[in-house]
């Protein structure tokens, strides 16, 4: 019981910071170079998504495909942490429009979140001692 709660207290703050700030989990664990590279890659992917006027997903239900795409896309966007929250707070609202640049932008925004999920898992594994 105490071992379990100790490990949660070790990895939970790392995981939370890794979600909120891309690369933050690695920086907290003093993996500075990796943390900065992750932060740069994820932030740049997100910024290029914004510059290409990608659309943010909002959760929407309906048929199965709609639910998977819109709810999954929303989770992907949300996984970018502060980047997503700040963008929404600043009032970014891009409607879905036709065009390959917008389309790439939308994918870049989701991809940034998915990359951050990978970074979160890596930070978690370092925190619990599975990786160095």
């Amino acid at each position: 019981m105490s071992k379990s709660s100790t490990s949660v207290s070790v990895w939970l703050p790392v995981l939370a910071l890794a979600w909120l700030v891309p690369g933050g989990g690695h920086l907290m664990l003093r993996r500075t170079t990796r943390g900065l590279l992750l932060a740069a890659s994820i932030t740049l992917t997100f910024l290029f998504g914004i510059l290409m006027r990608g659309a943010m997903f909002t959760p929407m239900t309906g048929d199965l495909l709609t639910t998977i795409i819109y709810c999954g896309g929303f989770l992907g966007d949300l996984a970018s942490g502060i980047l997503y929250l700040f963008t929404i707070w600043m009032g970014y609202s891009q409607p879905e429009v036709a065009g390959h640049v917008h389309d790439y932008g939308t994918k870049f925004l989701v991809a940034a979140g998915l990359m951050n999920v990978l970074a979160m898992v890596d930070a978690y594994e370092i925190a619990v001692g599975k990786k160095s």
Binding site: S41, I42, M52, V101, Y104, F108, A111, D122
Partner: protein, 61 residues
């Protein structure tokens, strides 16, 4: 804020670059392995990019 206009190739190249960096960092255990994996991943992205590009070119006749 003006919209950035990138071609398919430029957008895919940027995507390949950033994704390869992240994959290299989170996948391997040593720095040498990370660099090697990142470079290999980037090379595969580019290879597939050109492969699919030519496939679509010939597919359209």
């Amino acid at each position: 804020m003006p919209k950035m206009n990138l071609s398919h190739f430029e957008a895919a190249l940027l995507f390949a670059l950033f994704t390869s960096v992240v994959l290299g960092i989170v996948t391997k255990k040593t720095d040498a392995e990370r660099i090697r994996y990142g470079l290999r991943s980037f090379a595969y992205f580019i290879l597939v990019l050109f492969g699919l590009g030519w496939l679509m070119y010939f597919g359209h006749g």
